[in-house]
């Protein structure tokens, strides 16, 4: 049976703007790093999956076509997926399907983000909502998460203090990540005293808008064997789930599929764990890179991923379970709260989880990682992707 593994990773440093390169040139930087990391060349790439999210944020429709030469995709099979924030997760899965279909042995999954070129991000993100029923009510990507946060607070007694703990940990971890965008130490007080953006979300509960690129090379077991590569992050499980478009459909008080919980993530995680043969994620997952653009998003996510019971994420954060020296470190990279290049944010989660499995995460390395999980989230907390990476398969 064919297996697929990650053999090379490339990331650029995430920053506010890059005025010295265009989108393709930025993607090329990450591609070259990934090729060097894998020890292969452009000609070894058999197909390309573009991880590119909102056209309106790039200011160009189908900008991937503009990038094709830059990433060595010319006259090769190329395809682009777009699932909002979950794009990178779906792109990685698409790379996996290429390999498992038996048609390809080495696939480049690559994307870049230059959202620093527009100042209108939240008004563009308002355009993801229904023009007939919801758009005029000024919903955007921040306040849609506020609705989730406030329901989580009400349902489980989660507090702004718990949210602040997530921010403090992420910022601290980012100090050891050379690619992280935001690098500074903050305290719980800093978070609690930061200005309210969309209550209960405050400034330090929010991710930045980042520019940067990420490339991941996925290869078949046959290709890996031929290459003689030893440090591989095998893709052992994947899952993906789409929830309802209308968030109000998840507020029916039936107790099922509640907007307070990341139910889509739970379903996706169950599928991925099943495929990876993981029955107790608390014990078997050693590290997680979670797509959480807001502190509150992470609280719901760790519960959905089975790292703690529903409603206990706040307490677990108080206990330091998800800290670098805790039982199950979450976002050793600093996560989305410190770097959010939206097109590739979910791909960066995969890349960082892969680095952990490969033992190549440098100062942010968690010891003895056998299984790592990476997630993606997009739409109205609607699309979720889960990828389990393992040392052996």
């Amino acid at each position: 049976m064919i297996q697929a593994g990650i053999i090379g990773i490339g990331q650029t440093r995430f920053v506010t703007r890059r005025d010295d390169v265009n989108l393709g040139e930025l993607a090329r930087e990450a591609t070259i790093i990934a090729l060097e990391d894998a020890g292969i060349e452009f000609r070894d790439i058999e197909a390309v999956v573009f991880s590119l999210a909102l056209d309106a944020l790039e200011g160009m429709e189908n900008a991937e076509r503009w990038c094709v030469e830059a990433v060595g995709g010319c006259k090769k099979p190329c395809i682009r997926v777009h699932m909002g924030g979950a794009t990178g997760g779906s792109a990685l899965h698409t790379g996996l399907f290429h390999i498992l279909s038996g048609l390809f042995n080495c696939v480049l999954v690559v994307g870049a983000e230059k959202m620093g070129e527009t100042q209108d991000a939240q008004s563009i993100l308002n355009l993801i909502f229904d023009p007939v029923y919801e758009r005029e009510v000024a919903i955007n990507a921040i306040n849609m998460c506020s609705f989730q946060a406030i329901r989580h607070m009400r349902k489980y007694g989660t507090t702004e203090y718990h949210m602040a703990l997530v921010a403090v940990r992420s910022y601290k971890n980012a100090l050891k990540n050379p690619y992280a965008h935001i690098k500074k130490e903050i305290t719980v007080e800093d978070v609690l005293n930061s200005r309210v953006i969309c209550y209960p979300i405050k400034l330090y509960d929010c991710c930045p808008r980042s520019t940067g690129a990420c490339a991941v090379l996925v290869a078949s077991s046959r290709f890996i064997k031929k290459l003689g590569k030893k440090r591989i992050a095998w893709i052992s499980g994947i899952g993906s789930c789409t929830n309802s478009y209308f968030m109000g459909d998840r507020m029916d008080n039936s107790g099922l599929n509640d907007h307070a919980d990341a139910e889509g993530l739970l379903i996706a995680a169950k599928k991925a764990y099943k495929m990876a043969g993981i029955s107790d994620p608390k014990k078997e997952i050693d590290v997680a890179e979670i797509y959480a653009p807001f502190t509150s998003t992470e609280l719901a996510a760790v519960e959905a991923l089975g790292f703690c019971e529903k409603g206990e994420s706040g307490i677990c954060n108080e206990k330091g379970i998800f800290d670098m020296d805790g039982k199950l470190p979450v976002n050793p990279s600093g996560g989305v709260l410190t770097s959010n290049p939206i097109s590739v944010t979910a791909l960066v989660r995969v890349a960082e989880a892969a680095l952990q499995v490969m033992g190549k995460a440098g100062e942010r390395q968690v010891k003895g990682v056998k299984n790592a999980v990476a997630t993606g989230e997009g739409g109205s907390l609607q699309f979720y992707t889960v990828t389990v990476l393992s040392k052996g398969i």
């Binding site: 309106a56 306040n143 989730q148 406030i150 329901r151 309210v196 953006i197 209550y199 507020m251």
Partner: protein, 154 residues
């Protein structure tokens, strides 16, 4: 050669004319003409969908029956926005998902007539579970902003 980096300024200007479709048109006309809020019931799972949709995504069948829902309901989620986002309204403003009496799903709209200048004071009044009423604009155009929510028992 000068090393100055140049910028190409672009502005997207695309006009859209989205068809609301028959179901949403009936819903908006009921608001505009009769100040009524109408949901659609799924014949299979019996949920009353609000805002109304012509089919149920869970059962994958057409919804056919119109149901008049109450003009009062309960806050299910809310936010109070204090940040100015380009192209979006001037803050502060509150947005709430409300489960109107008789509906199975919550519908979002602005929550008005609450002083938002002091967050803590506003939070004393705006809570999940708080009762609200629907208030209609005097001049209605057949848009979602033809109405908003206001707290009951103020």
């Amino acid at each position: 050669m000068s090393k100055e980096l140049l910028f190409i300024s672009q502005h997207w200007n695309i006009e859209f004319n989205h068809a609301a479709g028959e179901t949403a048109s009936v819903f908006f006309r009921a608001i505009k003409e009769r100040k009524e809020i109408l949901g659609r019931r799924c014949p299979a799972c019996k949920r009353v969908l609000l805002p109304p949709r012509s089919f149920c995504e869970r059962c994958f069948v057409d919804t056919l029956e119109w149901v008049k829902v109450g003009k009062e309901g309960t806050i299910e989620a809310f936010t109070i926005v204090y940040e100015q986002f380009r192209g979006l309204p001037k803050p502060p403003y509150a947005i709430a998902y409300v489960l109107l009496d008789g509906a199975s799903t919550a519908m979002v709209n602005f929550l008005k007539k609450v002083d938002l200048n002091n967050l803590q004071e506003a939070l004393e009044r705006i809570k999940i579970g708080a009762r609200v009423k629907v208030v209609f604009k005097r001049k209605r155009r057949g848009r979602i902003t033809d109405f908003w929510y206001e707290l009951l028992h103020t």
